[in-house]
Symmetry: C2
Subunit: 142 residues, 2 copies
DNA sequence: ATAGTTTACTTGTATATACAAACAAACTCC
DNA sequence: GGAGTTTGTTTGTATATACAAGTAAACTAT
């Protein structure tokens, strides 16, 4: 069944979640080559771009709770993709050598995802939607 | 940090999920009076509207996997809000008397949610976004 | 009629996520 | 400089969700 045919397609809760789940699947496919979930992949990319970032900063940019970020980092640490060092109350997260080597593949995955949804939805269409969703998310201060 | 200020606010994956989480929280608040998660509440509403619906039908309308629907129904059954009967391979889900009595409060919660986001986002604004998201979700056939 | 297939649902297991609480470091104010 | 507070991070625990595999009923074709 199409989302627009559901009984609840006129409800924000329902539609937002339905879309999120579909996008999640789409992203999952793109990141399969590196065997990372989209969240892990984005986190890793951020650490690669800004070696030494702190979990709090990651949480802000990824808009995830601090505890979730800790869990994501834990997993990446297990897989030897990031290294955590603590200094006082602060924690710094660095990419491992292995992660740095992965960078080109990671970027390829990211591009694949972008191209995939741009093709499916149309470049302008998707850009507009994204901007709109961002603005709407801003208005919801939970 | 606002969603639109994040490093990743231009990415579909990120933005969709950020929005979904915020909407989830908003919905959670609205359904607090009946101590149900939004998913459970929507499922219950659907069962109240169509007593005897089957899990497969629910899964279609709620766009959730069959296993997830089973789990949701299980919890509602524990709370004596729905009753499951099986006939052959089919399962029928009926609202309990307690659930029927709850209907007015459920509707109140639903209205609260609608009014809440309509106020925050603007009626037209949110309607447009919802329609747009539905259509986009349709295009993604995962 | 019976073997194979499809359909409807449930279970086992895994995951991302969050809240609340814990903890430790850093800051503030008297 | 020591008490109280704030900040940054991690743990304990809970939840919604899904996939894969299992089960059982219904259908189909020979």
């Amino acid at each position: 069944m199409k989302t627009s045919e559901s009984k609840y397609c006129k409800c924000l809760y329902f539609t937002t979640n339905a879309l999120a789940r579909k996008v999640e699947k789409l992203a999952l496919e793109s990141w399969k080559p590196v065997d990372l979930s989209p969240s892990h992949a984005y986190l890793l990319l951020m650490v690669l771009e800004e070696p030494g970032t702190q979990p709090s900063c990651i949480a802000n940019h990824l808009q995830l709770s601090p505890s979730t970020v800790t869990r994501l980092i834990e997993k990446l640490e297990e897989r030897k993709l990031v290294i955590r060092t603590t200094e006082g109350k602060q924690t710094n997260v660095y990419p491992s050598a292995a992660a740095k080597e992965m960078l080109p593949i990671l970027k390829k995955c990211l591009n694949h995802f972008f191209n995939n949804y741009s093709t499916i939805l149309g470049k302008e269409e998707s850009d507009k939607l994204i901007t709109n969703m961002s603005l709407v998310a801003d208005k919801i201060s939970v």
